[in-house]
């Protein structure tokens, strides 16, 4: 059972998401919050697997709530909710540790799939095409290779490059002619060496350091 919390200032959005996710047998809604502060309180008390967090909310907004949660070391995966995919806030949220983002009007099936993927962890990138478009739009001119990347081996750099292209572990394995388990190890290493929570942040780092 995947436990999910929903934070959005619009009741109609919350109720819509609730209706959609309650229809899924393996998903359980543990609570709703109408602003960022309530979301932080809700997550720290119920520790859900996944938090759906609206970017723009009155008072403590999604970004602020997100940084409070990551700062507190909460394990909950955060999916940012947004009306528009090309939203600078979303980009900043991904840099700040969100696992991905959902368009509020995505088909219900896709929302459920996204929640499951986020709960599973680091295997795949959510909405790879949208993510790349977003990162593409907001990263400026590529920076020179960031020194942090020096810590990576050549193989790990290859893997990072492929993550940034939105490939899943299985696809990376095929691309590099190695086993999927090996890929998982590499991915875990990359994330650990760069101090990242998630594949999404790996994409951002790859773009910002001009690796792609």
């Amino acid at each position: 059972m995947i436990s999910v919390a929903i934070a959005d200032d619009q009741p109609l959005v919350r109720s819509g998401l609730r209706m959609i996710l309650e229809g899924e047998a393996d998903i359980e809604i543990v609570g709703e919050a109408a602003d960022g502060a309530a979301a932080v309180a809700l997550v720290t008390s119920t520790l859900p697997d996944v938090l759906l967090l609206d970017v723009q909310m009155p008072g403590v907004d999604g970004l602020e709530a997100l940084s409070q949660l990551t700062g507190a070391g909460v394990e909950t995966r955060v999916l940012m909710l947004t009306t528009f995919d090309l939203d600078e806030y979303v980009y900043r949220a991904m840099r700040a540790g969100a696992s991905g983002f959902l368009l509020k009007d995505m088909p219900g099936e896709d929302i459920a799939v996204a929640v499951r993927q986020a709960a599973r962890g680091t295997d795949a990138l959510l909405a790879p095409a949208l993510t790349r478009r977003l990162v593409d739009r907001y990263t400026g001119a590529p920076q020179p290779m960031s020194p942090a990347l020096d810590a990576l081996t050549a193989r790990e750099l290859d893997v990072l490059r492929l993550i940034a292209r939105g490939l899943s572990n299985a696809e990376i394995a095929r691309e590099l002619f190695i086993g999927e388990t090996t890929v998982k190890t590499h991915v875990a290493r990359v994330l650990m060496k760069l101090g990242l929570r998630d594949r999404v942040q790996a994409v951002v780092v790859a773009y910002e350091s001009g690796l792609t």
Partner: protein, 620 residues
């Protein structure tokens, strides 16, 4: 009297300073003749008249000249043995001449030469002081009268130019503001024209579908399609635009212009002085060498001085060296007319042609050159004369700088206008994008989300499905009325912005707010008419006042935008293209749009907009 017709605190201080100096001079010079001392002390307060130098320049110089004459005559009659007097009075006369040049208008400026001439004649006739008649009169007339008047005139001309430039700047800024607002309004029209049919009609259709109980899956699909279109539009609107960078203003170097303008005058002045030196050293002064040597030496002084416009300080250094040599080897320059002219010209030139630091160095150079190099009987007097000439140069220099800066500012204003207008337009586009993003995006998201949920529950929970459909219809209607409610607020915004751009406009648009009786199509079209007409006034009728009236006439909405005759005639009339396009739209809605010139030279746009039956029916 022109321009700065006010007694300033500074002028009052200067006048007081002159009074005190004249008093001190009386005590120092005539301490041995108590009667004369009292007489001179009594006359000193007359110099207070200098405080009026801006407001009454003619009276000022007349009063000072009259009292100088009177004093000289009285002194000759009553105290014939008394020593020479009136250095302070000479400076006061000089200052009054300058003020006459700077603040008086027309032929009366000739007084700046005539009155000192009169004074000089009297002084000379009465005292028969050291100089010969011709030299003394010439000296006073030229150096105390004419030259200061000319310098005052130079400063005044520049001040007037400055005032013109500043008026120009205000006009340019004003006109640019109007044109910028017109461009912004145009942009708003273009964007809303593109978005409104697509997005508003789409939202309305969604609401109607939900109200008619259409299958949630269908609603979900069309909501998502509409959101995709909205997103595309927002992305298009917010697409990064490379704004032209502001043109970097070229550095202002007023000295370059001043020096270029000074070139012929340097040559003429230096030539005159060299000629004067040659004549004086071969005749009036006691010559110590052959005439040809004196002529060559005069040229050696004049040549470097002729180059003062090119490199002021080095030219002056060489000039002073040559002058010192001349004074020591050929003939003493101190007291010679050409020698004085040289000192004055050098001091004025370094004040007028150098940077501030250079000017100060030049002043010291002139002092040293005269007092040490050439030598002086009355070192203090020479220092003062040089200082005065230098101050005149600095005044010309600084006003020139102000003029050049002002000119450069105007140029910058013009060259940066294209970028500023473009920026304003882009900002307006972003604002509209944000509006669409916030309002439509929100409504459509809720519709899509709720429809999606309803679709998934439709087989299992029909009650909740119905509820969701009601929610959808409500959200869509709310989004619709939010977008439309914006429009009447927008009329106010439009009028406010036009007013900020300097358009005097009166408005009676309360009829637009009666939401119950005015249909949204009607209101939208009325807004378009107001927008187009006001934009035209901004663009084509500078200086005109406008009135905007929206009245209900039965079910029709009657819109009249009129403006008075424009004050500027240089503006081209519009092509009427925008209005023609609008007439088509109004006609499509079964209304009429007419326009034409008014008897008073103004222009009027008139629209009659019937209600849109289609929409009234749909609203029940």
């Amino acid at each position: 009297m022109p321009g700065s017709a006010r007694v300033t605190r500074g002028d009052l201080t200067i006048a007081l300073g002159f009074v005190l100096a004249a008093g001190a001079e009386a005590v120092v010079l005539h301490g041995d003749a108590p009667g004369l001392e009292a007489f001179a002390l009594g006359g000193a307060p007359v110099l207070l008249v200098l405080a009026l130098r801006r407001t009454r320049p003619v009276a000022t110089i007349s009063v000072i000249s009259a009292f100088a004459l009177f004093g000289t005559v009285m002194q000759t009659l009553l105290w014939p043995q008394a020593s020479d007097s009136g250095g302070v009075w000479m400076f006061a006369l000089l200052f009054a001449s300058y003020s006459l040049g700077a603040h008086a208008r027309g032929r009366v400026i000739a007084l700046g030469g005539l009155l000192p001439l009169l004074v000089a004649l009297t002084v000379d006739l009465n005292t028969m002081s050291g100089w010969g008649l011709v030299e003394g009169v010439f000296f006073v007339t030229a150096f105390v009268g004419i030259l200061p008047t000319v310098v005052g005139r130079l400063v005044r001309v520049r001040r007037e130019r400055l005032a013109v430039l500043e008026r120009q700047r205000a006009q340019i800024a004003h006109e640019q503001h109007r044109q910028r607002e017109a461009a912004v309004l145009d942009e708003r029209v273009r964007t809303t024209e593109r978005l409104q049919p697509l997005l508003l009609d789409g939202l309305r259709a969604l609401a109607e579908h939900a109200e008619q109980g259409a299958p949630p899956g269908e609603i979900e699909l069309s909501a998502r399609q509409l959101l995709t279109r909205t997103r595309e539009e927002v992305v298009a609107l917010t697409a990064r635009v490379d704004l032209p960078a502001d043109a970097e203003p070229p550095p202002v170097d007023h000295l370059e212009r001043v020096r270029a303008a000074a070139q012929p005058w340097s040559v003429i002045g230096a030539g005159t002085i060299a000629a004067g030196l040659a004549v004086e050293s071969t005749s009036a002064l006691t010559p110590t060498s052959a005439p040809w040597v004196a002529v060559v030496a005069s040229l050696a002084v004049g040549l470097p001085l002729a180059l003062v416009w090119w490199r002021p300080l080095p030219a002056l250094a060489v000039t002073w060296l040559a002058a010192a040599g001349f004074s020591r080897l050929i003939a003493p320059l101190d007291g010679a007319l050409s020698g004085t002219a040289l000192a004055l010209a050098a001091a004025f030139a370094c004040g007028a042609l150098s940077t501030r630091r250079g000017a100060i160095a030049g002043l010291v150079l002139c002092w040293v050159g005269q007092d040490v190099g050439v030598g002086a009987d009355d070192p203090f007097g020479v220092v003062m004369i040089i200082l005065v000439a230098w101050l005149g140069g600095v005044a010309v220099n600084e006003t020139s700088q102000l003029v050049e800066e002002s000119r450069a500012n105007n140029r910058i204003l013009v060259t940066q206008e294209a970028a500023a207008r473009r920026r304003a337009v882009v900002e307006e586009r972003l604002r509209l994008a944000r509006e669409v993003h916030d309002q439509l995006g929100h409504s459509l998201t809720v519709v899509a989300l709720q429809a999606g949920a309803a679709r998934r529950m439709s087989s299992t929970e029909p009650d909740r499905t119905r509820e969701a459909l009601l929610t959808i219809a409500h959200a869509a209607r709310a989004g619709l009325s939010a977008m439309q409610g914006d429009i009447s607020a927008d009329v106010d915004t439009l009028l406010d912005r036009s007013r900020a751009a300097g358009l005097e406009v009166s408005a009676d648009v309360a009829a637009l707010d009666s939401a119950g009786s005015v249909g949204p199509e009607q209101r939208l079209l009325a807004y378009r008419v107001v927008q187009e007409a006001v934009t035209n006034v901004l663009r084509h009728a500078p200086g005109a006042t406008a009135s905007v009236t929206v009245r209900r006439d039965g079910a029709d909405l009657c819109v009249v935008v009129a403006n008075s005759a424009p004050s500027g005639s240089d503006r081209e009339p519009g092509t009427g293209k925008g209005l023609a396009g609008l007439r088509q739209r109004v006609a499509d809605a079964a209304g009429t749009l007419t326009w034409g010139a008014r008897a008073d030279g103004g222009f009027e746009v008139r629209a009659v907009l019937p209600p849109a039956e289609r929409f009234v029916g749909a609203r029940r």
